[in-house]
């Protein structure tokens, strides 16, 4: 009541009331921020053509058209200030756009927003009504089997799978043809990696993207379907819930050490062996190889899930990674050509589009290092090679060898190749690599030992993305630890310790009681 009166009084006041606690947005200051932090990618004139832009896919936003992916407004409408601020604040996961929330002050972010709106006449056009859509609240039962079943049903019937694939890994029949408005190749999102969704990972974020579409991309708005009663708002929420259910509950945390439990029986050598379901999965993100020429700025494999187990004498690794095609794959050739056309190459001869295979490499040092010293992570050096397993989809085989830097790989002969079992389904490779812990060639082949921290790194190539040789995705060094079987004394020692403690305690207590029973004798003796 009091505040209401105060508000009325203020309204009546003859001076303007600021709408926000912040001073009006300042395009002059915004320009200073923009030039310093944004122009490198987005360009001096905001056309998304800064010096770094040609190495990026997706490309930096071109502000001159005022077309924004992440909005709360209908398809084709301008974004609200809040929409653009959100992208500035949170960044766009899965792209080069970082979150600026902790790097720039709120005022700087608001000023830069005001400045980037000056790049497009649409923001000055008063006939443009910027109205956010009305979004309903998420219906309950998000994770119930019934809800997910309904979601799946509509995922199929409204055609999500045409681009995103039957299992949601961005491998649908239309996926190889997808382009942005300016004609750059664009992947349909892999719905199993929600932490890379541009507009946020949550169910409500997904629902909003379904309602608004992602302007400038092939992702359309599904709002007309609700208006025309083809599906209800609740059913669209179910689609969002289903899509959300495809990703893990939390974004995978990158852990340094892969624990390989010891199995009592044999190794699960098949990629679909049910034994793998009981083994912990570890996620390792991969990034483009941008150190040695020719560099690669647009890797398609975002990361690899790794599981490891061992027995008394052997080791098995299961690697799972999402890849939209089983390369070589002709339908993706046009996509590959477009990727190569759009990503600036620093190769002396630009790479032609070709039917490359998919591939993955697991790298170890030749021997377990005593200290923290490890070979150079990028496939070793001429003088300090690394031991690698390399698997390719064509020919479908794995080999072992020594890499002496990026340009030299010497295959080891004499039955040194690891065992390999692979299968491709619904946009995912699943590969099991196996080897004996100990081998004869101790000079070149790593001898696995339980209880030691064994450095390990990963490399991946997506053939239909034009990846081969140095054009690849790389990881840092991590560790593999073969858990030692628990010796019986681990269980026995605490019991023994407890028994001893108890025994000694009782002894002390009994002796003390005896002493007390003997009267002052003992005391006199001690004083003597």
């Amino acid at each position: 009541m009091v505040s209401g009166l105060l508000l009325l009084a203020l309204r009546a006041a003859p001076f303007p009331i600021p709408h926000s606690p912040f001073p009006p947005q300042d395009t002059t200051r915004g320009k200073a921020v923009y030039v310093k932090w944004c122009a490198g990618c987005h360009g001096d004139k905001g056309a998304g053509d800064g010096p770094a832009a040609s190495r990026m896919l997706p490309r930096p936003r071109d502000f001159t058209g005022a077309i924004y992916k992440v909005r709360t407004t209908a398809s084709g409408q301008l974004p609200t200030d809040q929409d653009v601020l959100r992208s500035i604040d949170e960044g766009l996961p899965g792209t080069a756009m970082p979150a600026w929330k902790d790097r720039l002050s709120e005022r700087e972010r608001r000023d830069v927003l005001a400045y980037l709106k000056t790049f497009s006449a649409f923001f000055q056009d008063t006939s443009q009504h910027i109205v956010p859509l009305t979004f309903s609240k998420e219906p309950g039962g998000a994770t119930s089997a019934v809800a997910l079943k309904v979601g799946r049903q509509f995922y199929d019937s409204i055609g999500c799978w045409k681009c995103h694939g039957k299992a949601g890994r961005g491998d649908g029949p239309s996926a190889p043809r997808l382009k942005t408005d300016p004609g750059e190749p664009i992947f349909a999102a892999d719905l199993h990696e929600n932490w890379r969704f541009r507009g946020g990972a949550g169910t409500a974020d997904i629902y909003r993207r379904l309602r608004t579409g992602l302007d400038g991309t092939p992702m359309p708005s599904f709002s007309d379907l609700i208006d025309q009663k083809f599906l209800t708002d609740e059913q669209l929420w179910r689609v969002a819930q289903y899509v959300r259910s495809l990703s893990p509950e939390r974004a995978p945390e990158v852990r340094d050490v892969i624990h390989a439990p010891r199995l009592p029986g044999g190794l699960p050598r098949s990629p679909d062996d049910s034994a793998w379901a009981r083994v912990e999965r570890y996620w390792f993100p991969l990034v483009g190889q941008v150190i040695r020429k020719p560099r690669w700025f647009a890797p398609a494999v975002a990361g690899v899930w790794v599981q490891a187990v061992h027995t008394a004498d052997s080791l098995a690794l299961r690697l799972e990674w999402d890849d939209r095609s089983e390369s070589p794959d002709t339908p993706w050739l046009e996509f590959e050509r477009r990727v190569l056309d759009h990503v600036t190459s620093d190769d002396s001869v630009p790479a032609p589009a070709d039917l490359w295979p998919d591939g993955i490499a697991v790298q170890f040092p030749r021997s377990i290092p005593a200290g923290m010293e490890r070979p150079y992570f990028l496939m070793g050096t001429a003088t300090d090679p690394v031991y690698q397993w390399r698997w390719t989809s064509m020919p479908r085989q794995a080999v072992a060898g020594l890499a002496r830097g990026l340009s030299r790989f010497d295959v080891l002969g004499g039955g040194s190749a690891p065992g390999a079992g692979a299968r491709f389904a619904d946009g995912q490779w699943r590969l099991v690599l196996t080897r004996a812990l100990a081998t004869a060639d101790t000079a070149n082949e790593l001898q696995f030992e339980a209880g030691r921290a064994i450095p390990v790194a990963f490399f991946a190539w997506d053939g239909s993305n034009g990846e081969h040789d140095t054009r690849m995705a790389v990881s840092a060094w991590y560790f593999l630890a073969l858990d030692q079987p628990t010796p019986p004394r681990v269980y026995l020692s605490p019991v023994v310790a407890m028994a001893v403690t108890l025994g000694l305690g009782m002894l002390v207590a009994v002796r003390a009681q005896r002493r007390a029973g003997a009267g002052g004798d003992g005391g006199g003796r001690s004083r003597a």
Binding site: S174, D181, P218, F230
Partner: protein, 244 residues
């Protein structure tokens, strides 16, 4: 007071109708104005449009007896060019206003093709986007002067949209079927035509003046001609596009 109000309303309504009738520039000589007519000829080797493999869409494929092709260059049997958008680019009085037609312009997604392939519309006029195929199409308008849009139509349905600014052309495309493309010319006036199976066009109802007439083709870009009209005559203006 109330009586006066209703009288005022009636007067206002009559005025509005009269004004609308006065400003209206409908096609046809009946209301006066001149006609510009002509043919769009094609010279050189007739290019072949690439075939479309519709295996992934059996419903669409079933609508064809021969292999469907793209419609990039449609040369008619009489040697003329179809799908040319001919329109008055400039010369109309800046102050002239033309009534937005009440009728909608229809684009149909039929057999995984846009029908028609090239179409025109006035600013504010309704575009009806129909999906006759009943399979998933999305229609994306990639205007630069108009706000873009991208709507999903996974079933037999019709959506409507309007365009707020003149733009020649707004490309329309389906991302599910990369071969589906259409072009929409958005104009502030009704003086446009699209060549069809005989390669001819007719623009009616033009007031006297000197006009720049432009002929636009998807592959062969544009050609312009200047036409001066004195009265209500009919003038012929042909265009010729050469194979590239």
């Amino acid at each position: 007071m109330r009586k006066f109000g209703s009288l005022a309303a009636v007067v206002a309504a009559v005025l509005v109708v009269a004004l609308a009738a006065w400003t209206r520039q409908p096609a046809g000589n009946a209301q006066g104005g001149a006609t510009v007519t002509g043919k769009v000829k094609f010279t050189g080797a007739k290019p072949t449009n690439p075939p479309i493999d519709m295996t992934e869409e059996p419903k669409c494929k079933a609508k064809y007896t021969t292999t469907p092709t793209r419609e990039t260059v449609v040369v008619n049997p009489n040697g003329t060019l179809a799908n040319v958008f001919v329109y008055v680019k400039s010369g109309l009085p800046a102050s002239a206003k033309y009534e937005t037609p009440k009728t909608a312009v229809l684009i149909d997604q039929d057999g995984c093709h846009y029908r028609p392939h090239v179409l025109g519309i006035m600013v504010g006029q309704t575009l009806e986007i129909k999906n006759s195929d009943g399979i998933l199409h999305n229609i994306k308008a990639k205007g630069v002067k108009n706000r873009p849009f991208n709507i999903s139509q996974p079933t037999t349905m019709t959506s409507t949209r309007t365009f707020s600014a003149p733009e020649v052309m707004v490309p329309l495309e389906c991302n599910v079927h990369g071969w589906m493309q259409a072009y929409l010319g958005v104009l502030p006036h009704p003086f446009y035509a699209i060549t069809g199976a005989d390669g001819s066009f007719t623009i009616k109802g033009l007031p006297p003046g000197t006009y720049t007439i432009e002929a636009w083709h998807e592959k062969y870009a544009t050609q312009t001609a200047t036409v001066t009209i004195a009265g209500t005559e009919s003038k012929t203006q042909d265009f010729t596009f050469a194979a590239k």
